[in-house]
Amino acid sequence: EQGLQDAPAAAAPRNLSDYFKQFLFPQNECELHNFRLSFSQLQWDKWIIAPHRYSPQYCKGDCPRAAGHRYGSPVHTMVQNIIYEKLDASVPRPSCVPAAYSPLSVLTIEPDGSIVYKEYEDMIATKCTCR
């Protein structure tokens, strides 16, 4: 409060919720981003018959301090945030990482000319979290 009396009257924020949002939810917030690749770009289409294109997606962005509420992060994530802010800045802030995935079906040609259809786990990120 001491600081507030002397400071010039700052422009009153449009509304308090917007004002407080900047503290809770960073601009570049941790979220899922689209990324679409085709196997021919990696020259893997020589043995991968299907699918031709694949969207692994990825997670990117800053983790808010109240990661628990928004991302279901464990308490440890908030503790790590506190350590970074209060105790040791060399301890990294929580990272924005995938939290759930979808499988992918792939049809490939084996070296002996046989063909295999296989469903692989955890190939497409579908949700992000802070950890």
């Binding site: 299907a50 992918l104 079906s105 490939t108 002996d112 046989s114 063909i115 296989k118 469903e119």
Partner: protein
């Protein structure tokens, strides 16, 4: 060797392997711009692992054989039936397999194909090499897949009898391969409607594949009586049906970590109505989503 310890697959999904023949030559895609060529260490970890994996797995591997076009068409059809456009396994599929392997018979023992065209019975020696089946892939079903050369007009319907026998090589007594066990069965179908005939041979091959047998040698005698079986005499009716040597189709359940296990997802989905709504559904209105799903389910039921 008759059976060999199957190699346990690496952590990296096999299909991510780069086919490097020359271990020192980096995959064209992985090659860095001239100025940074020495900075191999700068490569993203995944690409480094792939090229390392590619080098180890493909050391001296022969160039990749092209699969039979009919087999490829069949597997593409199977893929379309099993996965969405984006390649995600269809949820409504209740099968338990997460792997299907198609093997075409080794060429060297198809010498008898020359006689097929003489219009006599269609009998052929088949040798399938199952080296690619890994230790964690367990057999659920095996099928002999016959495809018909639909360019040859064939009157329909047809009654086909199939006589199958497994040839065992008894190395100890150097005797020529004896048929250890055989089975015969008949099928009746309309040629017009079918381009493929799938003959389930699971119980027949199960004992062999279960014992990690790497090579399966079988003789298949496939005779079709065309038109109305009663009126045709044996010889006149059994004309040659333009058959292609069958492929062997194995439906497998891969229990390795990298494979998708449908049963988990089914159990997970069955538990979800009771599952407490996750606090972290920031955008989706969890209750709304649950309502939407139950409405869709009841509509479908109606």
């Amino acid at each position: 060797p008759h059976s060999r310890e199957r190699t346990v697959p690496e952590k990296i999904p096999a299909f991510l392997v780069a086919p490097e023949d020359n271990p020192h030559r980096i995959h064209p895609l992985l090659r860095l711009p001239k100025g940074v060529r020495r900075g191999y260490a700068l490569l993203p970890p995944l690409l480094k692992v792939l090229s390392e994996q590619g080098r180890r797995d493909w050391q001296g591997a022969a160039p990749r054989l092209r699969p039979d076009s009919r087999a490829l068409r069949y597997m593409k059809r199977l893929y379309k039936m099993s996965a969405t456009k984006e390649g995600i396994p269809k949820a409504n599929k209740s099968h338990l397999y997460n792997t299907v392997r198609l093997f075409t018979p080794c060429s060297e023992c198809q010498h008898r194909h020359g006689e097929l065209r003489r219009g006599d019975l269609h009998s052929v020696d088949l040798l399938f090499n199952l080296d690619r089946v890994t230790a964690l892939e367990h057999l659920l079903k095996s099928v002999l897949l016959y495809s018909f050369d639909t360019s040859v007009p064939v009157p329909s319907p047809a009654t086909c009898t199939c006589h199958l026998s497994i040839k065992e090589y008894d190395f100890s007594s150097q005797v020529c391969p004896s048929a250890s066990h055989s089975v015969a069965f008949s099928l009746h179908f309309e040629f017009r409607k079918r381009r493929w005939v799938e003959i389930d041979v699971t119980s027949f091959l199960q004992p062999l594949i279960a014992t990690n047998r790497r090579n399966i040698h079988m003789a298949v005698n496939f005779t079709c009586l065309l038109g109305d079986a009663q009126r045709n005499t044996e010889q006149e009716g059994s004309r040659n049906v333009a058959l292609v040597p069958p492929s062997l189709l194995l439906y497998l359940n891969d229990t390795s970590e990298q494979a998708y296990h449908r049963r988990n997802s089914l159990r997970h989905r069955r538990r979800s109505p009771g599952r407490p709504v996750q606090r972290d559904a920031p955008l989706a209105d969890a209750l709304g989503t649950e309502n939407a799903q139950s409405k869709r389910a009841s509509r479908r039921r109606r």
